[in-house]
Protein backbone atom coordinates (compact mmCIF):
# COMPACT_ATOMS: atom_id res chain seq x y z
CA UNK A 1 0.00 0.00 0.00
CA UNK A 2 2.76 2.38 0.93
CA UNK A 3 4.56 1.37 -2.21
CA UNK A 4 2.14 3.17 -4.43
CA UNK A 5 2.63 6.38 -2.55
CA UNK A 6 6.35 6.00 -2.36
CA UNK A 7 6.86 5.27 -5.98
CA UNK A 8 4.14 7.22 -7.74
CA UNK A 9 5.68 8.37 -11.03
CA UNK A 10 6.96 11.87 -10.71
CA UNK A 11 5.27 14.49 -12.88
CA UNK A 12 8.63 16.04 -13.64
CA UNK A 13 12.23 15.05 -13.28
CA UNK A 14 12.79 17.85 -10.79
CA UNK A 15 10.46 16.38 -8.24
CA UNK A 16 11.35 15.26 -4.77
CA UNK A 17 13.62 12.26 -4.86
CA UNK A 18 15.21 9.88 -2.42
CA UNK A 19 18.66 9.94 -0.95
CA UNK A 20 20.29 12.28 1.47
CA UNK A 21 22.60 13.81 -1.12
CA UNK A 22 19.87 14.48 -3.59
CA UNK A 23 19.84 17.91 -5.21
CA UNK A 24 17.67 19.96 -2.93
CA UNK A 25 14.18 21.07 -3.88
CA UNK A 26 14.24 24.03 -1.64
CA UNK A 27 16.51 26.11 -3.75
CA UNK A 28 16.34 29.73 -2.64
CA UNK A 29 14.25 31.80 -4.96
CA UNK A 30 11.93 28.99 -5.89
CA UNK A 31 8.69 30.73 -6.59
CA UNK A 32 5.49 30.11 -4.75
CA UNK A 33 3.65 28.00 -7.32
CA UNK A 34 6.19 25.12 -7.57
CA UNK A 35 6.51 25.13 -3.81
CA UNK A 36 2.81 24.73 -3.44
CA UNK A 37 2.82 21.94 -5.99
CA UNK A 38 5.59 20.20 -4.09
CA UNK A 39 3.68 20.58 -0.86
CA UNK A 40 0.73 18.80 -2.42
CA UNK A 41 2.99 16.02 -3.65
CA UNK A 42 4.61 15.64 -0.24
CA UNK A 43 1.31 15.53 1.57
CA UNK A 44 0.55 11.82 0.90
CA UNK A 45 3.93 10.86 2.33
CA UNK A 46 3.21 12.75 5.54
CA UNK A 47 -0.25 11.25 5.68
CA UNK A 48 1.14 7.71 5.43
CA UNK A 49 3.76 8.39 8.10
CA UNK A 50 1.26 10.03 10.41
CA UNK A 51 -1.11 7.09 9.94
CA UNK A 52 1.74 4.66 10.72
CA UNK A 53 2.62 6.63 13.83
CA UNK A 54 -0.98 6.64 15.01
CA UNK A 55 -1.27 2.88 14.52
CA UNK A 56 1.97 2.43 16.48
CA UNK A 57 0.74 4.66 19.27
CA UNK A 58 -2.87 3.54 19.73
CA UNK A 59 -2.11 0.40 21.78
CA UNK A 60 0.11 2.49 24.08
CA UNK A 61 -2.54 5.16 24.49
CA UNK A 62 -5.19 2.51 25.06
CA UNK A 63 -3.00 0.91 27.72
CA UNK A 64 -2.80 4.25 29.55
CA UNK A 65 -6.50 5.01 29.16
CA UNK A 66 -7.62 1.49 30.05
CA UNK A 67 -5.49 1.26 33.16
CA UNK A 68 -7.16 4.36 34.61
CA UNK A 69 -10.76 3.17 34.11
CA UNK A 70 -12.99 0.43 35.49
CA UNK A 71 -13.15 -2.79 33.54
CA UNK A 72 -16.79 -2.20 32.60
CA UNK A 73 -15.80 1.11 30.93
CA UNK A 74 -13.31 -0.67 28.65
CA UNK A 75 -16.12 -2.51 26.91
CA UNK A 76 -18.82 0.14 27.19
CA UNK A 77 -20.06 2.51 24.52
CA UNK A 78 -18.68 5.04 23.91
CA UNK A 79 -15.14 4.03 24.75
CA UNK A 80 -13.29 6.38 27.05
CA UNK A 81 -10.76 8.48 25.15
CA UNK A 82 -9.23 10.27 28.13
CA UNK A 83 -7.53 8.88 31.22
CA UNK A 84 -9.97 8.28 34.07
CA UNK A 85 -9.62 8.38 37.84
CA UNK A 86 -9.41 4.69 38.71
CA UNK A 87 -5.63 4.31 38.57
CA UNK A 88 -5.12 3.83 42.30
CA UNK A 89 -8.06 1.43 42.63
CA UNK A 90 -6.68 -0.65 39.75
CA UNK A 91 -3.24 -0.59 41.28
CA UNK A 92 -4.58 -1.78 44.61
CA UNK A 93 -6.48 -4.63 42.95
CA UNK A 94 -3.45 -5.58 40.86
CA UNK A 95 -1.40 -5.73 44.03
CA UNK A 96 -4.04 -7.81 45.80
CA UNK A 97 -4.47 -10.24 42.91
CA UNK A 98 -0.85 -10.91 42.01
CA UNK A 99 1.33 -9.22 44.62
CA UNK A 100 2.49 -7.11 41.69
CA UNK A 101 4.98 -5.05 43.68
CA UNK A 102 6.82 -8.21 44.62
CA UNK A 103 6.58 -9.47 41.01
CA UNK A 104 8.14 -6.24 39.72
CA UNK A 105 10.98 -6.56 42.23
CA UNK A 106 11.52 -10.16 41.10
CA UNK A 107 11.63 -9.18 37.44
CA UNK A 108 13.93 -6.22 38.00
CA UNK A 109 16.21 -8.17 40.32
CA UNK A 110 16.48 -11.13 37.95
CA UNK A 111 17.09 -8.87 34.96
CA UNK A 112 19.79 -6.88 36.78
CA UNK A 113 21.60 -9.92 38.17
CA UNK A 114 21.38 -11.70 34.84
CA UNK A 115 22.66 -8.62 33.01
CA UNK A 116 25.65 -8.26 35.33
CA UNK A 117 26.74 -11.89 35.04
CA UNK A 118 25.92 -12.39 31.40
CA UNK A 119 27.57 -9.14 30.28
CA UNK A 120 30.70 -9.94 32.30
CA UNK A 121 30.95 -13.40 30.76
CA UNK A 122 30.35 -11.98 27.27
CA UNK A 123 32.92 -9.24 27.66
CA UNK A 124 35.58 -11.60 28.97
CA UNK A 125 34.94 -14.30 26.41
CA UNK A 126 34.74 -11.75 23.61
CA UNK A 127 38.09 -10.34 24.66
CA UNK A 128 39.69 -13.77 25.05
CA UNK A 129 38.49 -14.84 21.64
CA UNK A 130 39.52 -11.60 19.94
CA UNK A 131 42.96 -11.03 21.40
CA UNK A 132 44.48 -14.33 22.49
CA UNK A 133 45.60 -17.22 20.37
CA UNK A 134 45.16 -20.56 22.07
CA UNK A 135 44.65 -24.11 20.99
CA UNK A 136 41.07 -24.80 20.07
CA UNK A 137 40.14 -21.16 19.61
CA UNK A 138 38.82 -21.83 16.12
CA UNK A 139 36.72 -24.68 17.44
CA UNK A 140 35.28 -22.55 20.24
CA UNK A 141 34.42 -19.77 17.80
CA UNK A 142 32.78 -22.22 15.42
CA UNK A 143 30.76 -23.76 18.24
CA UNK A 144 29.54 -20.35 19.36
CA UNK A 145 28.36 -19.65 15.83
CA UNK A 146 26.50 -22.96 15.80
CA UNK A 147 24.95 -22.08 19.16
CA UNK A 148 23.42 -19.00 17.62
CA UNK A 149 21.83 -21.09 14.87
CA UNK A 150 20.28 -23.72 17.10
CA UNK A 151 16.83 -22.82 18.41
CA UNK A 152 16.81 -22.53 22.17
CA UNK A 153 13.60 -24.60 22.34
CA UNK A 154 15.60 -27.79 21.78
CA UNK A 155 17.09 -27.27 25.25
CA UNK A 156 13.78 -26.92 27.08
CA UNK A 157 13.20 -30.57 27.93
CA UNK A 158 16.76 -31.55 28.96
CA UNK A 159 17.29 -28.31 30.90
CA UNK A 160 13.98 -28.83 32.66
CA UNK A 161 15.07 -32.31 33.69
CA UNK A 162 18.49 -31.04 34.74
CA UNK A 163 16.91 -28.40 36.99
CA UNK A 164 14.48 -30.99 38.37
CA UNK A 165 17.28 -33.38 39.28
CA UNK A 166 19.23 -30.53 40.91
CA UNK A 167 16.11 -29.69 42.91
CA UNK A 168 16.22 -26.18 41.47
CA UNK A 169 12.69 -25.95 40.10
CA UNK A 170 11.03 -22.82 41.45
CA UNK A 171 14.39 -21.16 42.15
CA UNK A 172 15.85 -17.99 40.71
CA UNK A 173 19.18 -19.56 39.76
CA UNK A 174 17.31 -22.01 37.54
CA UNK A 175 15.79 -19.07 35.65
CA UNK A 176 19.10 -17.31 35.09
CA UNK A 177 22.01 -19.70 35.10
CA UNK A 178 21.42 -21.75 31.93
CA UNK A 179 21.44 -18.62 29.78
CA UNK A 180 24.26 -16.62 31.37
CA UNK A 181 26.62 -17.55 28.53
CA UNK A 182 25.08 -15.82 25.52
CA UNK A 183 26.50 -16.62 22.10
CA UNK A 184 25.13 -13.40 20.71
CA UNK A 185 26.69 -11.31 23.49
CA UNK A 186 30.08 -12.97 23.07
CA UNK A 187 30.00 -12.37 19.36
CA UNK A 188 29.02 -8.73 19.74
CA UNK A 189 31.89 -8.17 22.17
CA UNK A 190 34.42 -10.07 20.08
CA UNK A 191 33.57 -7.91 17.07
CA UNK A 192 34.10 -4.74 19.06
CA UNK A 193 37.41 -5.88 20.60
CA UNK A 194 38.88 -7.10 17.28
CA UNK A 195 39.79 -3.60 16.17
CA UNK A 196 41.42 -2.69 19.48
CA UNK A 197 45.15 -2.04 18.79
CA UNK A 198 47.44 -4.78 20.14
CA UNK A 199 50.16 -2.22 20.74
CA UNK A 200 48.14 -0.62 23.54
CA UNK A 201 47.69 -3.99 25.24
CA UNK A 202 51.42 -4.65 24.84
CA UNK A 203 52.47 -1.36 26.38
CA UNK A 204 50.18 -1.90 29.35
CA UNK A 205 51.83 -5.27 29.91
CA UNK A 206 55.27 -3.71 29.66
CA UNK A 207 54.20 -1.18 32.28
CA UNK A 208 53.62 -4.15 34.55
CA UNK A 209 49.82 -4.28 34.54
CA UNK A 210 48.50 -7.80 34.89
CA UNK A 211 46.17 -9.23 32.26
CA UNK A 212 42.98 -8.54 34.13
CA UNK A 213 43.95 -4.99 34.97
CA UNK A 214 44.85 -4.37 31.35
CA UNK A 215 41.44 -5.67 30.38
CA UNK A 216 39.31 -3.55 32.60
CA UNK A 217 41.40 -0.38 32.75
CA UNK A 218 42.58 -0.15 29.14
CA UNK A 219 40.35 -2.24 26.90
CA UNK A 220 36.87 -1.99 28.40
CA UNK A 221 36.62 1.81 28.57
CA UNK A 222 37.22 2.05 24.83
CA UNK A 223 34.35 -0.31 24.05
CA UNK A 224 31.85 1.63 26.15
CA UNK A 225 29.25 2.24 23.39
CA UNK A 226 29.12 -1.43 22.42
CA UNK A 227 28.99 -2.42 26.08
CA UNK A 228 26.01 -0.12 26.56
CA UNK A 229 24.29 -1.84 23.63
CA UNK A 230 25.13 -5.25 25.10
CA UNK A 231 23.82 -4.33 28.55
CA UNK A 232 20.53 -3.04 27.17
CA UNK A 233 20.08 -6.07 24.94
CA UNK A 234 20.84 -8.44 27.81
CA UNK A 235 18.50 -6.67 30.20
CA UNK A 236 15.72 -6.75 27.63
CA UNK A 237 16.23 -10.46 26.96
CA UNK A 238 15.67 -11.35 30.60
CA UNK A 239 12.90 -8.82 31.11
CA UNK A 240 10.98 -10.32 28.17
CA UNK A 241 11.79 -13.95 28.94
CA UNK A 242 8.59 -15.94 29.14
CA UNK A 243 8.65 -19.63 28.31
CA UNK A 244 11.58 -20.54 30.58
CA UNK A 245 10.44 -18.64 33.70
CA UNK A 246 6.97 -20.04 33.02
CA UNK A 247 8.39 -23.56 33.22
CA UNK A 248 10.67 -22.89 36.18
CA UNK A 249 8.61 -20.78 38.59
CA UNK A 250 5.49 -22.07 40.27
CA UNK A 251 5.17 -20.03 43.46
CA UNK A 252 3.23 -16.81 42.85
CA UNK A 253 5.64 -14.79 44.99
CA UNK A 254 8.50 -15.77 42.71
CA UNK A 255 6.78 -14.94 39.41
CA UNK A 256 8.20 -12.50 36.91
CA UNK A 257 5.99 -9.91 35.24
CA UNK A 258 5.21 -11.89 32.05
CA UNK A 259 4.37 -15.01 34.06
CA UNK A 260 2.13 -13.02 36.41
CA UNK A 261 0.32 -11.40 33.47
CA UNK A 262 -0.24 -14.84 31.99
CA UNK A 263 -1.76 -16.04 35.25
CA UNK A 264 -4.17 -13.11 35.31
CA UNK A 265 -5.44 -14.02 31.84
CA UNK A 266 -6.21 -17.52 33.05
CA UNK A 267 -8.43 -16.41 35.94
CA UNK A 268 -12.12 -17.21 35.63
CA UNK A 269 -13.03 -13.55 36.04
CA UNK A 270 -10.36 -11.55 34.24
CA UNK A 271 -9.59 -8.13 35.72
CA UNK A 272 -9.01 -6.34 32.43
CA UNK A 273 -8.12 -2.90 33.73
CA UNK A 274 -5.71 -4.45 36.21
CA UNK A 275 -4.25 -6.47 33.36
CA UNK A 276 -3.80 -3.34 31.24
CA UNK A 277 -2.16 -1.55 34.14
CA UNK A 278 0.17 -4.51 34.63
CA UNK A 279 1.08 -4.45 30.95
CA UNK A 280 1.71 -0.73 31.14
CA UNK A 281 3.99 -1.13 34.14
CA UNK A 282 5.76 -4.02 32.39
CA UNK A 283 6.44 -1.79 29.40
CA UNK A 284 7.63 1.25 31.35
CA UNK A 285 11.21 0.19 32.20
CA UNK A 286 11.95 -0.65 28.56
CA UNK A 287 10.25 2.52 27.36
CA UNK A 288 12.37 4.62 29.72
CA UNK A 289 15.56 2.78 28.69
CA UNK A 290 14.65 3.37 25.07
CA UNK A 291 13.90 7.06 25.41
CA UNK A 292 17.10 7.71 27.39
CA UNK A 293 19.53 5.50 25.46
CA UNK A 294 17.93 5.51 22.03
CA UNK A 295 21.07 4.89 20.01
CA UNK A 296 22.47 2.11 22.18
CA UNK A 297 19.01 0.60 22.51
CA UNK A 298 18.56 0.31 18.77
CA UNK A 299 22.14 -0.90 18.32
CA UNK A 300 21.60 -3.57 20.95
CA UNK A 301 18.27 -4.69 19.52
CA UNK A 302 19.54 -4.88 16.00
CA UNK A 303 22.31 -7.08 17.29
CA UNK A 304 25.13 -5.52 15.34
CA UNK A 305 23.23 -6.12 12.11
CA UNK A 306 23.90 -2.54 11.26
CA UNK A 307 26.77 -0.40 12.39
CA UNK A 308 26.15 3.04 13.84
Amino acid sequence: MTHTVATRPAPSENSAAPGPAWPTDDAPGASLAPRLLRGIRHLPVYLVLVAGSVVSLIPFLWMIIASTHQTSDLFGTPLPVLPGGELLENLARLQAETNFGRVMVNSLGLAVVYTVFSSAVSMMAGYGLAKFRFRGRGVVLGLILVTMMIPMQVLLVPLFQMMASLGWIDSYQAVILPFVASAFGIFLMRQSFLDFPDSLIESARIDGANEFRTFYRIVLPVARPQIAALVIYTFMTQWNAFIWPLLMLNTEDKYTVPVALNTMIGLSRVDYSGLMLGSLIATLPLLILFLVFQRQFIAGLLGGAVKG
Binding site: R8, P18, W22, L49, T77, G128, L155, V157, A181, L275
Partner: protein, 277 residues
Protein backbone atom coordinates in the same frame (compact mmCIF):
# COMPACT_ATOMS: atom_id res chain seq x y z
CA UNK B 1 42.09 -18.48 27.04
CA UNK B 2 41.28 -17.94 30.72
CA UNK B 3 39.06 -15.03 29.73
CA UNK B 4 36.93 -17.38 27.66
CA UNK B 5 36.88 -20.11 30.29
CA UNK B 6 33.66 -19.16 32.14
CA UNK B 7 31.78 -19.03 28.86
CA UNK B 8 33.20 -22.36 27.70
CA UNK B 9 32.31 -24.11 30.97
CA UNK B 10 28.79 -22.67 30.96
CA UNK B 11 28.24 -23.69 27.34
CA UNK B 12 29.45 -27.18 28.05
CA UNK B 13 27.05 -27.63 30.97
CA UNK B 14 24.00 -25.76 29.76
CA UNK B 15 24.28 -26.18 26.02
CA UNK B 16 26.43 -29.04 24.79
CA UNK B 17 25.25 -31.55 27.38
CA UNK B 18 21.50 -30.78 27.04
CA UNK B 19 21.85 -30.85 23.27
CA UNK B 20 23.24 -34.37 23.33
CA UNK B 21 20.73 -35.39 26.01
CA UNK B 22 17.90 -34.04 23.87
CA UNK B 23 18.97 -36.04 20.86
CA UNK B 24 19.33 -39.18 22.95
CA UNK B 25 15.91 -38.56 24.45
CA UNK B 26 14.33 -38.25 21.02
CA UNK B 27 15.30 -41.89 20.49
CA UNK B 28 13.52 -43.08 23.62
CA UNK B 29 9.98 -43.45 24.88
CA UNK B 30 8.69 -43.52 28.43
CA UNK B 31 5.63 -45.41 29.51
CA UNK B 32 4.65 -46.43 33.00
CA UNK B 33 7.83 -44.88 34.38
CA UNK B 34 10.07 -47.03 32.20
CA UNK B 35 12.23 -45.40 29.55
CA UNK B 36 13.43 -47.54 26.68
CA UNK B 37 15.25 -47.06 23.42
CA UNK B 38 12.88 -46.98 20.46
CA UNK B 39 15.17 -45.92 17.63
CA UNK B 40 13.49 -43.59 15.18
CA UNK B 41 9.93 -44.34 16.30
CA UNK B 42 9.38 -40.82 17.65
CA UNK B 43 10.45 -39.36 14.34
CA UNK B 44 8.07 -41.70 12.55
CA UNK B 45 5.31 -40.32 14.80
CA UNK B 46 6.05 -36.82 13.47
CA UNK B 47 4.95 -37.86 10.00
CA UNK B 48 1.76 -39.50 11.19
CA UNK B 49 0.74 -36.69 13.55
CA UNK B 50 -1.85 -34.35 12.00
CA UNK B 51 -1.05 -31.66 14.60
CA UNK B 52 2.53 -31.45 13.30
CA UNK B 53 1.06 -30.82 9.87
CA UNK B 54 -1.30 -28.20 11.31
CA UNK B 55 1.42 -26.38 13.21
CA UNK B 56 3.73 -26.35 10.20
CA UNK B 57 0.86 -25.19 8.01
CA UNK B 58 0.19 -22.33 10.44
CA UNK B 59 3.86 -21.39 10.49
CA UNK B 60 3.75 -21.58 6.69
CA UNK B 61 0.85 -19.11 6.60
CA UNK B 62 2.90 -16.72 8.71
CA UNK B 63 5.83 -17.16 6.31
CA UNK B 64 3.74 -16.61 3.20
CA UNK B 65 1.46 -13.84 4.46
CA UNK B 66 2.92 -12.15 7.51
CA UNK B 67 6.60 -11.95 6.59
CA UNK B 68 6.09 -10.48 3.07
CA UNK B 69 3.40 -8.09 4.33
CA UNK B 70 5.65 -6.83 7.10
CA UNK B 71 8.70 -6.60 4.84
CA UNK B 72 6.76 -4.60 2.23
CA UNK B 73 5.50 -2.23 4.91
CA UNK B 74 8.97 -1.91 6.44
CA UNK B 75 10.63 -1.18 3.09
CA UNK B 76 7.90 1.29 2.13
CA UNK B 77 8.10 3.17 5.43
CA UNK B 78 11.90 3.18 5.42
CA UNK B 79 11.88 4.51 1.86
CA UNK B 80 9.56 7.34 2.83
CA UNK B 81 11.62 8.13 5.92
CA UNK B 82 14.73 8.36 3.76
CA UNK B 83 13.37 11.23 1.63
CA UNK B 84 15.78 14.13 1.85
CA UNK B 85 13.11 16.77 2.24
CA UNK B 86 11.18 15.03 4.98
CA UNK B 87 10.68 16.93 8.23
CA UNK B 88 10.32 15.37 11.73
CA UNK B 89 12.32 12.36 10.54
CA UNK B 90 13.62 11.51 14.02
CA UNK B 91 10.13 11.77 15.49
CA UNK B 92 8.57 9.48 12.89
CA UNK B 93 11.38 7.00 13.34
CA UNK B 94 10.95 6.84 17.12
CA UNK B 95 7.17 6.52 16.84
CA UNK B 96 7.37 3.67 14.34
CA UNK B 97 10.02 1.89 16.39
CA UNK B 98 8.04 2.19 19.62
CA UNK B 99 6.17 -1.16 19.30
CA UNK B 100 9.52 -2.99 19.32
CA UNK B 101 10.05 -1.69 22.85
CA UNK B 102 7.08 -3.55 24.33
CA UNK B 103 7.41 -6.78 26.26
CA UNK B 104 6.08 -9.64 24.11
CA UNK B 105 3.63 -10.86 26.73
CA UNK B 106 2.44 -7.35 27.59
CA UNK B 107 1.63 -6.36 24.04
CA UNK B 108 -0.10 -9.68 23.42
CA UNK B 109 -2.25 -9.02 26.48
CA UNK B 110 -3.15 -5.57 25.18
CA UNK B 111 -4.11 -6.95 21.78
CA UNK B 112 -6.16 -9.67 23.40
CA UNK B 113 -8.15 -7.09 25.32
CA UNK B 114 -8.53 -4.79 22.32
CA UNK B 115 -9.71 -7.69 20.15
CA UNK B 116 -12.40 -8.88 22.57
CA UNK B 117 -15.59 -9.69 20.66
CA UNK B 118 -18.12 -7.95 22.90
CA UNK B 119 -17.26 -4.28 23.18
CA UNK B 120 -13.54 -4.68 22.48
CA UNK B 121 -11.86 -1.50 21.26
CA UNK B 122 -11.25 -2.80 17.74
CA UNK B 123 -14.83 -3.95 17.24
CA UNK B 124 -16.10 -0.62 18.54
CA UNK B 125 -13.81 1.24 16.14
CA UNK B 126 -14.94 -0.73 13.10
CA UNK B 127 -18.49 -0.40 14.41
CA UNK B 128 -18.17 3.36 13.87
CA UNK B 129 -18.03 2.74 10.13
CA UNK B 130 -20.87 0.24 10.30
CA UNK B 131 -18.96 -3.04 10.32
CA UNK B 132 -20.49 -5.76 12.45
CA UNK B 133 -18.43 -7.09 15.38
CA UNK B 134 -15.88 -9.72 14.40
CA UNK B 135 -15.22 -12.73 16.60
CA UNK B 136 -11.47 -12.16 16.33
CA UNK B 137 -10.04 -14.75 18.65
CA UNK B 138 -12.61 -17.55 18.32
CA UNK B 139 -12.90 -17.90 14.57
CA UNK B 140 -10.21 -19.81 12.73
CA UNK B 141 -9.55 -17.31 9.96
CA UNK B 142 -9.97 -14.20 12.08
CA UNK B 143 -7.71 -15.59 14.79
CA UNK B 144 -4.98 -15.98 12.20
CA UNK B 145 -5.65 -12.46 10.95
CA UNK B 146 -5.45 -11.18 14.53
CA UNK B 147 -2.17 -12.98 15.13
CA UNK B 148 -0.70 -11.67 11.88
CA UNK B 149 -1.83 -8.13 12.66
CA UNK B 150 -0.33 -8.29 16.16
CA UNK B 151 3.06 -9.58 15.03
CA UNK B 152 3.14 -7.08 12.19
CA UNK B 153 2.39 -4.26 14.63
CA UNK B 154 5.21 -5.38 16.93
CA UNK B 155 7.97 -5.99 14.39
CA UNK B 156 7.46 -3.67 11.37
CA UNK B 157 9.21 -0.70 12.96
CA UNK B 158 12.09 -2.89 14.09
CA UNK B 159 12.71 -4.09 10.56
CA UNK B 160 12.13 -0.61 9.20
CA UNK B 161 14.99 0.77 11.27
CA UNK B 162 17.38 -1.91 9.94
CA UNK B 163 16.28 -1.28 6.35
CA UNK B 164 16.56 2.46 6.85
CA UNK B 165 20.19 2.05 7.92
CA UNK B 166 20.71 -0.03 4.78
CA UNK B 167 19.14 2.69 2.64
CA UNK B 168 21.40 5.32 4.14
CA UNK B 169 24.42 3.22 3.22
CA UNK B 170 23.58 3.39 -0.49
CA UNK B 171 26.09 5.79 -2.09
CA UNK B 172 24.50 8.98 -3.38
CA UNK B 173 26.50 8.69 -6.62
CA UNK B 174 24.41 5.67 -7.60
CA UNK B 175 21.24 7.75 -7.55
CA UNK B 176 22.94 10.54 -9.44
CA UNK B 177 24.31 8.27 -12.11
CA UNK B 178 20.89 6.70 -12.58
CA UNK B 179 19.26 10.09 -12.85
CA UNK B 180 21.84 11.17 -15.41
CA UNK B 181 20.80 8.18 -17.45
CA UNK B 182 17.25 9.40 -17.24
CA UNK B 183 15.91 6.77 -14.88
CA UNK B 184 12.53 7.55 -13.33
CA UNK B 185 11.65 6.98 -9.71
CA UNK B 186 10.24 3.52 -10.15
CA UNK B 187 13.30 2.43 -12.13
CA UNK B 188 15.59 3.80 -9.43
CA UNK B 189 13.59 2.03 -6.74
CA UNK B 190 13.47 -1.33 -8.49
CA UNK B 191 16.89 -1.28 -10.17
CA UNK B 192 19.03 0.45 -7.56
CA UNK B 193 17.38 0.61 -4.16
CA UNK B 194 16.11 -2.97 -3.97
CA UNK B 195 19.30 -4.67 -5.31
CA UNK B 196 21.47 -2.53 -3.03
CA UNK B 197 19.28 -3.48 -0.10
CA UNK B 198 19.57 -7.17 -0.88
CA UNK B 199 21.86 -8.16 2.03
CA UNK B 200 19.75 -6.19 4.51
CA UNK B 201 16.51 -7.61 3.11
CA UNK B 202 17.94 -11.10 3.34
CA UNK B 203 18.96 -10.56 6.94
CA UNK B 204 15.59 -9.17 8.01
CA UNK B 205 13.72 -11.73 5.93
CA UNK B 206 15.58 -14.66 7.44
CA UNK B 207 15.31 -13.30 10.98
CA UNK B 208 11.57 -12.86 10.50
CA UNK B 209 11.24 -16.32 8.99
CA UNK B 210 12.98 -17.94 11.93
CA UNK B 211 10.92 -15.77 14.28
CA UNK B 212 7.72 -17.02 12.65
CA UNK B 213 8.87 -20.62 12.85
CA UNK B 214 9.69 -20.26 16.55
CA UNK B 215 6.66 -18.18 17.52
CA UNK B 216 5.40 -18.87 21.03
CA UNK B 217 4.66 -15.90 23.31
CA UNK B 218 2.15 -14.18 21.05
CA UNK B 219 -0.12 -17.06 20.19
CA UNK B 220 0.20 -18.57 23.66
CA UNK B 221 -1.25 -15.37 25.14
CA UNK B 222 -3.62 -14.33 22.33
CA UNK B 223 -5.33 -17.60 21.50
CA UNK B 224 -3.53 -20.42 23.29
CA UNK B 225 -3.13 -21.96 19.84
CA UNK B 226 -6.84 -22.13 19.16
CA UNK B 227 -9.51 -22.06 17.95
CA UNK B 228 -9.28 -25.66 16.68
CA UNK B 229 -5.49 -25.33 16.57
CA UNK B 230 -5.72 -22.61 13.90
CA UNK B 231 -2.86 -20.69 15.53
CA UNK B 232 -0.90 -23.65 16.88
CA UNK B 233 2.80 -23.24 16.04
CA UNK B 234 5.56 -25.89 16.30
CA UNK B 235 7.02 -24.42 19.51
CA UNK B 236 3.61 -24.13 21.15
CA UNK B 237 2.94 -27.75 20.21
CA UNK B 238 6.33 -28.74 21.63
CA UNK B 239 5.38 -26.99 24.87
CA UNK B 240 2.06 -28.81 25.05
CA UNK B 241 3.54 -32.23 24.29
CA UNK B 242 6.49 -31.73 26.62
CA UNK B 243 4.98 -29.92 29.57
CA UNK B 244 1.27 -30.70 29.54
CA UNK B 245 1.47 -34.33 28.43
CA UNK B 246 5.04 -34.79 29.71
CA UNK B 247 5.91 -36.85 26.64
CA UNK B 248 9.58 -35.85 26.71
CA UNK B 249 10.70 -38.27 24.00
CA UNK B 250 8.24 -36.99 21.44
CA UNK B 251 8.80 -33.35 22.46
CA UNK B 252 12.51 -33.86 21.81
CA UNK B 253 11.76 -35.21 18.35
CA UNK B 254 9.67 -32.09 17.63
CA UNK B 255 12.58 -29.98 18.87
CA UNK B 256 14.94 -31.65 16.42
CA UNK B 257 12.46 -31.10 13.61
CA UNK B 258 12.74 -27.40 14.49
CA UNK B 259 16.54 -27.64 14.43
CA UNK B 260 16.39 -29.22 10.98
CA UNK B 261 14.01 -26.56 9.63
CA UNK B 262 16.09 -23.72 11.09
CA UNK B 263 19.23 -25.22 9.58
CA UNK B 264 17.45 -25.47 6.23
CA UNK B 265 16.54 -21.78 6.38
CA UNK B 266 20.10 -20.86 7.37
CA UNK B 267 21.38 -22.92 4.47
CA UNK B 268 19.08 -21.12 2.04
CA UNK B 269 20.30 -17.83 3.45
CA UNK B 270 23.87 -18.91 2.98
CA UNK B 271 23.25 -19.87 -0.64
CA UNK B 272 21.38 -16.68 -1.43
CA UNK B 273 24.09 -14.51 0.08
CA UNK B 274 26.84 -16.39 -1.67
CA UNK B 275 25.14 -16.24 -5.01
CA UNK B 276 25.48 -12.50 -4.97
CA UNK B 277 29.28 -12.52 -4.66
Amino acid sequence: MYFALPAIVLFAIFFAYPLVASFWQSLTATSGGVTRFVGLDQYARLFADPLIGTSLFNAGILLVVQVPLMMALAVGLAYLLNQGWLKFKGGFRVLHFLPAVTTLVAYSVVFRVMLATDGGAVNQLIGLVGIAPVDWLNHETWARVALIASITWRWTGYNMVIILAGLQAIPAELYEAARMDGAGRWTIFSRIVIPQLRPVLLFTGITSTIGALQLFDENFILTGGGPSDATLTPVLYLYKVGFRQFDFGYASAIAWLLVALTALIAFVQFRLTREKL
